[in-house]
Amino acid sequence: MSGNSGDQVAREEARLAAALRSREPPPPCPATGPKIAVENFSASFDGAAVLRGITLEVCPRERLAIIGPASSGKTTFLRSLNRLNDLSPAFSMSGRILIDGQDIYDPGVDVAALRRRVGMVYAVPVPLPWTVYENLAYGPRLAGVRDRARLDALVESSLRSAFLWDEVKDRLREPATNLSGGQQQRLCLARVLALEPEVLLLDEPCSGLDPISTAKIEDALADLRSRYAIVLVTNNTKQAARASERTAFFLMGELIEVGPTVQVFTNPAHRRTSDYITGHFG
């Protein structure tokens, strides 16, 4: 390739490195304890182990990135946090996941309520085949919000938080499928924010998006960090470096290491982590 694109890559790497250096290491979890505590969690489908003995914590108001090659269990881990895996009859698990100290796999837990507290954005944006407004109001309506003014307020505030309000404020009655791909993904983010959750789970939210849409999502996440604990699964290691305080590296269903993003990217504890980050495999 020409030296030009090589220069570009080098410049970008330098920018990323500078950004990482300037980033302060995340503060330890506050005394109130972690938002999510995963204790020796294992999961399998039809007896085939997908996650093995995962133990990690997510603090309130931090973005935890999860990186790792395909079929390393990242998505299964994410879907365990709001019990979406339960929908598959083949799923079984052991260990514990505590949110605010409460075991979410306790038999007495209201799963629908749990999923409102722990909102999820999928890899592929899936607007329901309704209007923009109906998409956003669906979650709150499920939770029993009927008041029109309250719904309007939720729709507007969640769209603003997802950096989408200015683009769709005059298109709320249009089919959501008319929006562009990047707008649809921010709509899906806004739809989760309208639930007023406590935790945000994002499963490769930018995998199909152009760089500008990706930047908008990352900007939104940076803003949202002040209000939520965020778990971001990504195949893009640069995104993990840009948009997280801590990073966890999964491989073959095991947690290889977790630590401040700066450390994982500049001075990883394990050889396999550095191999993955520098692109030697995966």
Binding site: L87, P89, A112, R116, G119, L128, P129, L142
Partner: protein, 278 residues
């Protein structure tokens, strides 16, 4: 020597055109033939009067009312049962022996000749349950008859709803019931509606099954427990017994126009629902 691709293309296109034209042609011929023979006799009086002297004179008002009763009641009974069964099969069970048995049963039911349904209805509803030759007996028999159609078309429509919608709905904190009623059924409605419309058409035009269950009384039915002759059966009787061919064709014309009207209005309604659902 092999035919050139261009020639093959032209020949296959011509063949398909010809077969499609033949299909449309047969349909058009039947409709035009019947309407040409019948429409001249369809007067206002024919639609609003009761038949006199076994249908040789007078109109078909009781048959119109009876047909609407029997077909309407049949679908009102079959639609909820059929759609509920389809929901159960698709959303509430894992594929297994039970679903296979239900599906196989429905398919068998769909292949049974209507005269057998008529016989079953006669033995079970008319005699055993003591409902007599009545609109209710006829409607229940037809309901059993169209049930498989409604189950299968509803099932197809529900299966066609993307799995991702269900994931999204669960992810937003819905219960299964909320997911089914607010996401799946809403998206599947046009498909489910199509199955129901087909069933209405089939109920309106059914002859053998209603002959044995709803009877062939000529009077205007007062209650659902009265016997009533449907349009299709009236046409059959008029032509079979050579009572009046002009009135037979006129009755057939009314029948065809009624089915056409049901299909068109249902089509229009479905399009509106589908548009509103977006």
């Amino acid at each position: 020597m092999r035919a050139s691709p261009r020639l093959t293309q032209a020949a296959s296109l011509g063949l398909m055109w010809g077969l499609a034209a033949a299909t449309i042609g047969v349909l058009a011929f039947i409709i035009i033939y019947i309407l040409a023979h019948g429409l001249p006799h369809v007067t206002w009086g024919f639609l609003t009067e009761s038949p006199r002297s076994m249908g040789r004179e007078g109109g078909v008002l009781p048959m119109i009312v009876g047909t609407a009763w029997v077909a309407g009641l049949a679908v009102v009974i079959a639609a909820p049962v059929g759609v509920a069964t389809a929901i159960y099969l698709t959303e509430y069970t894992r594929e297994g022996r039970l679903t296979a048995v239900i599906r196989f049963g429905a398919d068998c039911l769909a292949g049974i000749p209507s005269i057998i349904f008529g016989l079953f209805g006669f033995v079970f509803f008319v005699i055993t349950l003591g409902m007599g030759l009545s609109i209710v007996s006829g409607a229940l028999t037809l309901a059993v008859m169209v049930l498989p159609t409604i189950i299968r078309t509803s099932e197809e429509a529900i299966r066609a709803v993307p799995q991702a919608y269900r994931d999204v709905s669960f992810g937003l904190g819905s219960t299964r019931w909320q997911m089914v009623t607010q996401v799946v059924l809403r998206s599947a409605l046009p498909g489910i509606g199509t199955g129901i419309v087909l069933s209405i058409g089939r109920s309106i035009s059914e002859t053998a099954a209603v002959m044995l269950t709803a009877g062939s009384a000529l009077g205007l039915p007062r209650t659902a427990f009265d016997s009533s002759r449907t349009l299709a059966l009236h046409f059959y009787t008029l032509s079979r017994e050579g009572i009046s061919m002009p009135n037979a064709y006129a009755t057939a014309s009314v029948l065809i126009l009624a089915i056409l009207a049901v299909n068109l209005s249902a089509y229009w309604l479905m399009r509106r629902l589908a548009a509103g659902g977006r």
